[in-house]
Symmetry: C2
């Protein structure tokens, strides 16, 4: 899902003026930070056969065991429903996911993570945790919690605000 060609960034002379080098505002920084984490996590992901962010985002969503329709899943991971199909196709081919039938509604398919999928995701998760720990190195616990809660708040705000009052 990379929005810029990453090969360009691995040259010998490292870029000093990368993302976020211009006047900082919230949205720009969110993009830059998200992209930066993605670049780092991608190497771990491809190392274990996952193609890009979407693959492990889907696995992460599936790992909580909640039964979700494909459409619901596409909303949760912010992936277009048609794109999700190809992601699931790929993951299913790798035996990381299965599409199960919903006995109460024959239209829907309930994607579920398999045992091997869980294993792969667990391995990835430790790499991800390490990367995130590195990103927040030297930040104390209270600050981390504040960061996460503010991000969660930004992410969920409109969902709440839009509820018909």
């Amino acid at each position: 899902m990379g929005t810029f060609r990453r090969d360009d960034a691995v040259g010998e002379e490292v870029e000093l003026a990368l993302c976020g080098a211009f006047p900082a505002d919230l949205t720009v920084l969110l993009h830059a930070a998200a992209e930066r984490m993605t670049v780092e996590l991608d190497v771990a992901a491809v190392a274990m056969g996952l193609k890009d962010v979407r693959d492990w985002l889907v696995l992460a969503a599936l790992d909580d065991g909640r039964q979700r329709t494909q459409l619901e899943l596409s909303r949760v991971v912010c992936v277009d429903k048609t794109t999700l199909i190809s992601v699931l196709d790929r993951l299913e081919k790798q035996d990381l996911v299965v599409r199960t039938a919903d006995p109460s509604d024959r239209r829907v398919r309930i994607p579920q993570i398999t045992d091997t999928g869980r294993d792969v995701y667990a391995t990835f998760a430790t790499a991800r945790d390490a990367a995130e720990a590195a990103a927040l190195q030297g930040v104390d616990q209270a600050e981390r919690e504040l960061l996460l809660s503010l991000l969660a708040r930004i992410a969920d705000r409109q969902a709440a605000a839009l509820v018909p009052s």
Copy 2:
């Protein structure tokens, strides 16, 4: 640049389980928060003729007046250099940007924002500021600054870390 079909989200019954509804980790929340701000800002952007995030990210980068090569610009805004060409083509057609020649190097083009471009961007910026203010409503100043500085830190970390030691 939307990663999911937004039309789906504007139905009557608003989704309650949107992005970030599964176990919160830093990267997932960054993505969700960035996407959320993007959705909100997009309506303001298209209202003034900009196509998507990339358009105004480019304008934002250009607005600081720094002379940048197209390649440098593509890195700063995290947009693929080939994609940047089409963005600049579009912005140039709208007279928001001009590609000027660098007298000292005839290979490079220095994209610069025009007066009308500055006007358009200024209008957009006030809308963006309003959206961001709404997103951070009730968050006190110290917390805001911490949030921004942590995001900047995450975004810039590897750039510093990768410098050959």
